[in-house]
Symmetry: C2
Subunit: 145 residues, 2 copies
């Protein structure tokens, strides 16, 4: 538990107030302590990839489904290929999307720290983009033990 | 070369103008065609993790070093742990960062499509955050062949 001691020591120096809320601490799961879970998600044969408003709605709903808090959301609509790059910044990290409508392909990543599980966002992603094929790779970020 | 044919066919339907610029096409490298390169970067024993302005400057310089074009940049400064969540949206995808200054740790991801190579951003990341340890994992997103 060396990592918890480190946080407490810093708090005691007075650099910042000690709070009960430990949302910013690393999480522990299956005996491993780490910063958060990062999913790299690929959608093929997907829909709604050229509509920034629809995409923003889907990503916001996906965040809420994982009990995450949205801080900021930004969508950029490209031309001439109609692709969208979008990002939703969360209190618990972020969701990003980049779409290639001409290939019915989208690359999404969902990074959530704390108690949020990005896998809880996947049903909303599936419902919103209706991919014929989906590939999900899961990475634990910041493993300390 | 089925993927190139598909793009040309769509263009011929008149849904969008045919252009010479092929920046939005998938790239080909080592005989593999894919959407872009995604680096998951972890910094340990790093500096400048609680300064949103410094972080924004470093990420913007990192984007430029890889010849990427910055479209939008957003930093959020948390309390009480002083962590920063930041995102730089690029014409070629994005760079994100989430920092835990109390642990001297940062999780960065750099996703670039087209001809940009996210590895070209790493010297700026090293110079800016001076990590004692850095871990870089590279993934090809949207592999079609």
């Amino acid at each position: 538990m060396e990592t918890e001691l480190q946080a407490v020591e810093t708090a005691e120096t007075g650099d910042y107030p000690v709070v009960e809320n430990d949302k910013d601490y690393f999480v522990e799961k299956d005996g491993q302590r780490f910063a958060g879970m990062h999913l790299l998600v690929e959608l093929w044969d997907a829909e709604n990839l050229d509509d920034p408003k629809a995409i923003e709605n889907i990503l916001n709903k996906a965040a809420v489904a994982a009990k995450a808090t949205v801080l900021h959301s930004y969508m950029h609509h490209f031309s001439p290929y109609s692709g969208v790059s979008g990002i939703v910044v969360l209190a618990e990290s972020h969701i990003s999307i980049h779409t290639w409508p001409e290939r019915s392909f989208a690359a999404i990543d969902i990074f959530m720290c704390g108690e949020c599980d990005p896998n809880d966002s996947l049903p909303v992603i599936r419902e919103g983009f209706k991919p014929g094929k989906i590939k999900v790779d899961e990475y634990r970020r910041g493993i300390v033990s």
